[in-house]
């Protein structure tokens, strides 16, 4: 085993400090050392996108970055997408439009879509399909994922959306944690 190195970064707005071997991959640090099991491991070869996190304003596959490379970074995972107990529009959208089934790809999908909507607030279906192509889903066939992202884009632009999920709206995240 090689020497461990201290790495500090911001994870979902909170400073964290970890001791890692240089070879440790960010996905393992997040999941094993920092109890952030939202990002998943699906392929380990940077094809599936289940491990996607947002770092310094970019979507990354955390299976293909070393934790030592993250010194000083600002990292956002699915656990940090909802703010103050309010679900993000994307989280709402995925529920509303049935954008998930087994849920394994979902954290990566939402985290990736989060960055996409920062860059392209009003994407067409073709743009969504193009810019989401780094995330594999085996369940949905993507059609409802596209709709989910369109829903979120509409909501974030302040346009009306149809909200029918009983858990959506105020304090939605909290009520779920209770259930």
């Amino acid at each position: 085993m090689s020497q461990t190195v201290k790495v500090t970064f911001k994870l979902n707005d909170r400073p964290v400090e970890v001791l890692v071997e240089p070879r440790e991959l960010l996905i393992h640090t997040l999941r094993e050392k920092l109890a952030h099991t939202g990002p998943h491991i699906g392929c380990e070869t940077s094809h599936c996108g289940a491990c996607t996190v947002d770092m310094n304003g970019a979507s990354l596959k955390s299976c293909t970055i070393l934790t030592v490379q993250c010194e000083g970074a600002d990292i956002l995972t699915i656990e940090g997408i909802a703010k103050n107990g309010e679900l993000h529009a994307l989280q709402e959208g995925f529920m509303q439009e049935h954008g998930l089934q087994c849920g394994f790809c979902t954290p990566g999908m939402i985290t990736r879509a989060y960055r996409l909507l920062q860059e392209i607030p009003d994407p067409t279906e073709e743009e969504i399909r193009y810019w989401m192509a780094g995330n594999l889903c085996r369940c949905t066939g993507y059609q409802n994922i596209v709709k989910s992202i369109q829903y979120a884009a509409r909501k974030l632009r302040g346009e009306p959306v149809e909200t029918s999920h009983p858990l959506m709206g105020e304090k939605a995240a909290q009520s779920e944690m209770a259930g």
């Binding site: 090689s2 020497q3 240089p22 070879r23 996607t52």
Partner: protein, 288 residues
């Protein structure tokens, strides 16, 4: 899928990085975007004892214009290439090609320098660099040298870079106004390497080709420049027959490796097909 242990170095300057390369020699690997190297390390095909991360060295990324030349920092990511307004105006070929590389997340990390320096004929930038007459700035212990792309790619994973050198910049002459362009890439799916791809830059006057450059991806041990085809087209009207004759010359230089994407016959035929597609599109985009 766990890399072997190694020591990690994060030099803050180019000089430090070069010094480390010299110190560790063969034991060291440079880490740019990491999307070729880290998977190989996870499979333990690559087992460096020292990993030198170039990501903390200032000024290695960015796109600028200097005279009639576009200068791209070697650590510029594919995503930065795609969104660069300068490139969209002056080198749309590069933007079109970058959009066809890997997938969105990988493009946030993958760098143009890493793609070139890896020497993998399956990577897309080598053929583009040949087509664009690019040259590469290599920094070493004895300072910088500039190597033209045409002299850079020596074999699969084998380039003109010395082991103690670091690619810092890519220099590309801006093609003349009105140049047509296209990168046609056939792949099985998003994220795949090309089964065959062709880059074309084209200048025309009326129906006549006044200048053409053709590069090929994943069709030989290195990226290829189809000089015979270029010579056959230059000065000629771009008739269907002329294009077909050039396509035959393109296919004649292909020596692809068979893999699950297809056998030699298929890939060679696809080289011809990608060339036909690319030159037709380039013609449409030419200002004559």
């Amino acid at each position: 899928m766990i890399p072997k242990p190694f020591e990690y170095h994060s030099p803050q300057s180019l000089g430090d990085a070069v010094a480390m390369l010299q110190q560790y020699g063969d034991e060291a690997k440079l880490l740019a975007g990491g999307h070729s190297l880290l998977p190989m390390m996870k499979l333990r095909f690559a087992m460096p004892s020292h990993l030198i991360d170039l990501n903390r060295i200032p000024d290695l990324a960015g796109v600028s214009e200097s005279g009639n030349e576009i200068r791209i920092g070697a650590m510029t990511t594919e995503n930065q290439l795609i969104w660069s307004e300068l490139l969209q105006r002056k080198l749309p070929l590069l933007v079109e090609a970058a959009r066809l590389i890997a997938d969105p997340q990988v493009r946030y990390r993958g760098t143009i320098g890493g793609d070139i320096a890896h020497g993998d004929p399956g990577n897309d930038h080598p053929a583009l660099m040949l087509t664009l007459d690019a040259s590469f700035v290599l920094a070493g212990a004895n300072g910088e040298r500039v190597v033209p792309a045409s002299e850079f790619f020596l074999g699969t994973y084998y380039t003109a870079m010395n082991p103690d050198e670091i690619m810092t910049q890519i220099r590309i002459p801006v093609p003349p106004q009105g140049t047509g362009w296209c990168y046609a890439k056939l792949k099985r799916k998003t994220g795949d390497f090309a089964a065959a791809a062709a880059a074309v830059l084209l200048q025309m006057k009326g129906d006549t080709c006044t200048g053409v450059a053709i590069g090929l991806t994943n069709l030989g041990p290195t990226a290829l420049r189809a000089s015979d085809a270029e010579a056959a087209l230059t000065g000629q009207p771009l008739t269907a027959d002329a294009i077909e004759a050039a396509a035959q010359k393109v296919m004649a230089i292909c020596e692809p490796a068979a893999d699950l994407r297809g056998d030699e016959t298929y890939k060679t035929a696809m080289a011809g097909e990608m060339f036909r597609k690319a030159i037709r599109t380039a013609m449409e985009r030419c200002t004559r």
